[in-house]
Subunit: 104 residues, 2 copies
DNA sequence: CTTACGCATCAACAATTATTGATACTCAAG
DNA sequence: CTTGAGTATCAATAATTGTTGATGCGTAAG
């Protein structure tokens, strides 16, 4: 039971937090370095580092080093994967399903 | 920051757990009572009651009483809301965005 | 009215996740 | 080589979330 939903749970968990959703929102209009994000979100650097790692572990963001800055950006592939998972949730849903046949 | 992402976070959190994803999967092909779900998932009743409540609080499932049984089913509206939230995540994403103008 | 079933809720505990401040690492500039 | 900026990581702690077993509520059947 656990195995098949592993990646889906990871994706959803990464997005289940307001701070991380705000990070995603900020990154939508282009890559940003961590210091910019701490400015915008008014959040401690280690806190954002933590949340960015959660997003990265779920493949929802990508990072790139340039000099001493690290630029984060949205990872399109991750969003595609998310859409796929959500599509699966919707797939085969039968709205007209009556009372289930079996009981206890 | 927190306020605007509240519902999205609630939805994603509800789906961030393998047990709850399995519940959603089971409910996709029609409504089921809790006792059926405990059979299929091999899980304690109070455990599933807890998880079903999380899903219901996010409007992802609906419940209906019939006699002493309680039937749960997927709530299409919740799934629509989820799709909307995911669409927003994808919207306006600019893949060709260059290095951000401002630095620290 | 009593009993038994299906389910929700609660309290106690376990496990996971988030926050904070300190420290370490990497790179660039001097 | 030293210093400082930007970032990650770690340890400690706090907060949230999940599990379990017990209890209670509603309903149907006897």
């Amino acid at each position: 039971m656990d195995g098949s939903h592993q990646k889906a749970a990871l994706l959803f968990h990464a997005l289940s937090d307001a701070t991380r959703l705000e990070l995603m929102k900020q990154l939508k209009d282009g890559e940003k370095c961590v210091c910019e994000l701490t400015d915008v979100l008014q959040a401690a650097q280690s806190r954002l580092s933590f949340h960015l790692k959660v997003l990265k572990d779920a493949d929802l963001v990508h990072d790139r080093r340039e000099g001493r800055w690290k630029y984060y950006s949205v990872n399109k592939e991750g969003l595609e994967e998310l859409k796929g998972v959500v599509f699966d949730l919707n797939r085969d849903t039968n709205p007209a399903a009556g009372v289930s046949a079996t009981r206890c």
